[in-house]
């Protein structure tokens, strides 16, 4: 258990310049200002994007659309911004019981203090989860506890000021809502939900980031982050059929879009149809479905599993998520199968059922191949591709040649949301062990429930904070380096689209020579397809072991 107590922190937060803010803190933490410099903040939301969201979601949830600059002292906030924040806090304390409990029940034991990858990578005390939450709690105490208001700083209370707002914007965007700290909290405080609330409040006064708002508004308009229109989305996916044919010799005819009456609706993170290395994961999905003859279809409307709305507020999260059930109903499918995505699964597993359910127009998911009934998804009606694949393997329904992954020495990164958000720990490992000969785990305190975040989740995967991302990803990269040095690991597998994009960058910087893939790519490589040619390359057209010449 960590030895840092909040009392100590409040006195001795820092005597030297903060690694993150550059400020020279010779004062208590409340007096240390957040200083924005290029590289330590995300660009704010564009005016037209905020206007669009404001128009499409009632309630003035995104503040006043305007041009503003983070480094300037005038953020062009509404005159009554403090009132808006305090009122917003009050409404949320009434609405979300968990928020109230989390504000009250922390005893500052410090168990979480050294568990955050941002703290471990930056050494900035305000990235200790307890202190990050204190940024919000201090205002809560001042406004909602009479005793604390009277005692003021003695009770850890302080007024909401512009300086506090800046601090919130800095540090609640140095939290990826990965929930590693929550694993160690004796009270089970879900720090991710504290960050969610803080970000909601910031949005109310128009303090936001474009990297989150633009994909969210694109999703609202066309159904996916990039704003790909239906025909472009379909073309991209169909284009990959040619690659599959070239790599395997098999021409697939099973890819359909918006087909009514299909048994299964398949929803993926949209990056899987356009961005490397996600496209190889997508090729793996399609090969698997062909292999077992699954009756499935993909929607061009619900063409995004990811939900950037969940990084803004409950209302937008709910709206973006709503298209999944809406499309399942319109197409008349029996159940939904979901691809390898991270925060999609947090939203699906923890919020969808109560937000947009009950989905009683569907059936309890049942594998048409093995007959397995997925009781765990009896209510949400949505099954994870890894659960589905593991079940197929368990029942011996897949013809597999493991040696086709012999050019890969694999490790597995537990993506935060599937691991801690839904408990998906063993299925991916079971699959890897059945399709690969060389699999090595990273150290125990860096995997499963204790997995380290990629450092770029919750909409922090933007280029302008690359230094910060590399710092935050150090704990993960450090563990990968260990298995790379010890076992020659050259493939970091995962089950998240943001991971596939951001871990690739992380590896390029920290561990060159380690590539990143989805589990389904490994499955696709290993599947023995009917009518296939002699396979000499994998799905990325890389030579298989023994075929290098």
């Amino acid at each position: 258990m960590a030895d840092t107590k909040i009392e100590q922190m409040s006195i001795s937060v820092a005597k030297e310049p903060s690694m993150m803010t550059g400020a020279i803190p010779r004062k208590e933490w409340m007096d240390v200002p957040a200083v924005f410099k290029p590289g330590n903040y995300c660009y704010p939301g564009k005016k037209d994007i905020v206007e669009y969201l404001d128009k499409n979601l009632p309630g003035k949830l995104f503040g006043e659309p305007r041009e503003w600059k983070v480094e300037e002292d005038d953020w062009k906030l509404p005159e009554n911004w403090k009132e808006i924040i305090i009122q917003g806090m009050k409404e949320r304390l009434d609405k979300f019981r968990s928020f109230k409990v989390f504000m009250d029940c922390c005893v500052r034991c410090g168990a979480c203090a050294d568990k955050c990858h941002f703290f471990l990578g930056t050494g900035d005390p305000k990235n200790m989860p307890v202190l990050r939450a204190e940024l919000l709690r201090s205002v809560y105490r001042n406004e909602f506890s009479k005793a604390s208001k009277i005692l003021g700083r003695l009770a850890g209370a302080r007024e909401m000021t512009f300086g506090v707002l800046k601090e919130w914007f800095m540090y609640f965007y140095q939290c990826t809502e990965c929930r590693r700290c929550s694993v160690f909290c004796p009270y089970g405080i879900d720090t991710a939900e504290i960050t969610m609330m803080a970000r909601e409040l910031l949005h109310l006064v128009g303090v936001n980031t474009n990297w989150i708002l633009e994909p969210a508004s694109n999703s609202n308009r066309t159904g996916n982050h990039l704003g790909l229109q239906p025909h472009t989305f379909a073309q991209n996916a169909e284009f990959l059929l040619d690659d599959i044919e070239e790599a395997t010799g098999v021409k697939l005819n099973n890819l359909t879009f918006n087909r009514k009456g299909a048994e299964v609706l398949f929803i993926i993170p949209s990056a899987d149809v356009f961005a490397e290395p996600g496209i190889y994961t997508f090729m793996g999905y399609l090969l698997l479905f062909e292999h077992i003859g699954l009756d499935y279809t993909i929607s061009t409307y619900a063409s995004e599993g990811g939900n950037f709305g969940s990084f803004t507020n409950n209302e937008l999260m709910k709206k973006l998520n709503g298209k999944m059930y809406a499309e399942a109903k319109r197409l008349g499918v029996k159940w939904i199968l979901g691809g390898e995505c991270g925060h999609m699964w947090r939203v699906v597993h923890q919020y969808m059922d109560t937000m947009n359910g009950p989905a009683d127009f569907m059936e309890v998911p049942k594998s048409p191949i093995t007959g397995t009934v997925f009781e765990n998804a009896a209510s949400s009606k949505m099954v994870h591709i890894s659960e589905f694949t593991a079940d197929l393997i368990k029942h011996g329904k897949l013809k597999i040649d493991k040696s086709r992954n012999d050019h890969r020495i694999v490790t597995f990164h537990d993506s935060c949301n599937p691991a801690r958000g839904m408990g998906l720990l063993d299925e991916p490992r079971y699959i890897i062990e059945n399709v690969c000969n060389a699999f090595h785990e990273m150290p125990e305190n860096t995997i499963r429930e204790q997995t380290f975040c990629c450092g770029s989740g919750t909409g922090l995967n933007t280029g302008e904070i690359m230094d910060l991302r590399m710092r935050a990803g150090l704990p993960r990269a450090n563990a990968v380096k260990h298995v790379h040095d010890k076992h020659g690991v050259n493939m970091l597998s995962c089950v998240c689209a943001i991971d596939r994009a951001t871990l690739t960058s992380l590896m390029e910087y920290w561990n060159p020579g380690v590539e990143v893939c989805g589990i389904s790519e490994l499955v696709g490589n290993a599947l023995i397809m009917e009518g296939e040619k002699e396979r000499d390359s994998g799905l990325r057209f890389e030579p298989l072991a023994g075929m290098e010449g």
Binding site: M9, L120, L226, Q229, T232, D467, M470, H482
Partner: protein
């Protein structure tokens, strides 16, 4: 060389002080954690600093120093993204070793060591030069990572991908430009 022998004897105390010097850049609480937590996976920063500095020190005090690139590069990777320091601030810790050695060896210092000192100082300087190259290589790698992300990112699709409505719009716009030019 006598001085190398002395450095071997003093390794523990000098490396410890050197590490303390590096960690002093962090806040008091972080500093305490970084120095104390010995699990290399629970404390990647502290681990990288302590193994890196030990490796560099052993390189400097060896009779026949081998290739130190790997150790130095790992340390520079950390330094190059660790703080918003200037390059000088990031590399200053190498020069600080000179002072630390002189102070820690003050009691044992002899005129013979005085004669040997310039060679050791030159070794430290060479290490600093190599560190500068590696630091820059890390910064450049970081920019390359960013460029690669941009190239594979959404602007490729949104800017280059032609959807029918965009093509019609562009077509209309170019016709308008032509017409305007003719009218002028």
């Amino acid at each position: 060389m006598k001085i190398l022998q002395l450095l071997i004897e003093k390794e523990e105390v000098i490396v410890k002080r050197w590490l303390k010097h590096v960690l002093a850049a962090f806040s008091a609480d972080a500093n305490r954690f970084l120095a104390k937590q010995k699990d290399r996976f629970a404390n990647p920063l502290g681990h990288n600093f302590s193994t890196g500095l030990t490796g560099l020190y052993r390189h400097l005090r060896s009779e026949e120093p081998g290739d130190v690139t790997e150790i130095l590069e790992q340390l520079m990777k950390v330094r190059a993204v660790q703080a918003e320091d200037t390059p000088a601030e990031s590399l200053a810790f190498i020069f600080a070793l000179k002072e630390i050695i002189r102070e820690e060896c003050r009691k044992e210092w002899t005129s013979e060591l005085d004669a040997e000192w310039p060679e050791l100082a030159a070794r430290i300087d060479r290490l600093a030069l190599q560190a500068f190259d590696l630091y820059m290589a890390c910064r450049e790698r970081l920019y390359m990572v960013r460029i690669r992300e941009l190239q594979s990112g959404n602007h490729i699709l949104t800017d280059n991908m032609k959807c029918p409505s965009a093509m019609v719009r562009e077509d209309m716009q170019s016709k308008k430009v032509e017409n305007d030019a003719e009218n002028d």
